[in-house]
């Protein structure tokens, strides 16, 4: 898995690619929680377009991010969900709790 951050005006977009599983999910969790808990960025956006695979530990990291965003009053947005990611989120029955956008334009819109 690879993750990079783009810092925009009062928001950060994380571009994530590859597989999010037991071995890689800590690499997602750490910067995500830092962005929310320490930096308190008002809007944190995850670009999941290039994610090939996500498992329960990846979903757990997303849930942790969501909870941290609620704690600090930030928005936590996902976009670019491909079939694989969407199926896993639907299977988790947690898909409804996330704010999901179709594309980046929607996610960064005022």
């Amino acid at each position: 898995m690879q993750i990079s951050a783009r810092h925009l005006d009062k928001m950060t977009v994380f571009d994530i690619s590859g597989d999010i599983d037991l071995s890689t999910s800590p690499e997602l969790r750490k910067p995500l929680l830092r962005e929310l808990r320490e930096l308190r960025t008002p809007r944190v956006i995850l670009n999941l377009k290039a994610v090939r695979y996500i498992d329960s530990s990846g979903v757990a990291s997303l849930v942790e991010g969501l909870k941290a965003s609620r704690d600090v009053g930030s928005r936590f947005i996902l976009f670019g969900l491909n079939t694989t990611v969407r199926e896993v989120l639907q299977l988790s029955k947690l898909v409804r709790i996330f704010e999901i956008c179709e594309n980046e334009e929607q996610a960064v819109a005022p």
Partner: protein
Amino acid sequence: MDRRSLLLKMELRSNPETLCMVRGALGQLAERLGFSESECRAVVLGVDEALTNIIRHAYAGQPDQPIEVWFHRIQVPARGAGVEALEIILLDQGKKLDEAKLSGRALEDVRPGGLGLHFIRETMDEVEFSHTNGRNQLRLVKLLHAQGTPAGS
């Protein structure tokens, strides 16, 4: 045709970095057996979650412990006839499974963790845990053509 034929046996260590290799091999195996794209993803997710559970819970994160995974093509009685299926047996020598935790958790409880078992149950047609001779065994079965698609189509 034999009612049970060995397709593949894997001997792994409990290192999370092996998971991506298992997924790659399993995806191809499932595809060759004739599972649909969506079913292939389900099989891969179910087995990946089973291995993740072994690594995290049975072996408490120790990366050098043994895991065996056996893949068989089998026939099981279903819908009044014999139906072909993929049987996956995972064996480990780790901590005995806590049966009280095997029921999973309420999904309404929005919190990280506890999803793995739910994913295994949702992606597989049969899930059986047992513990014999100091080993945990998890038997998973995924029916081929579960939607009634004729074999070979």
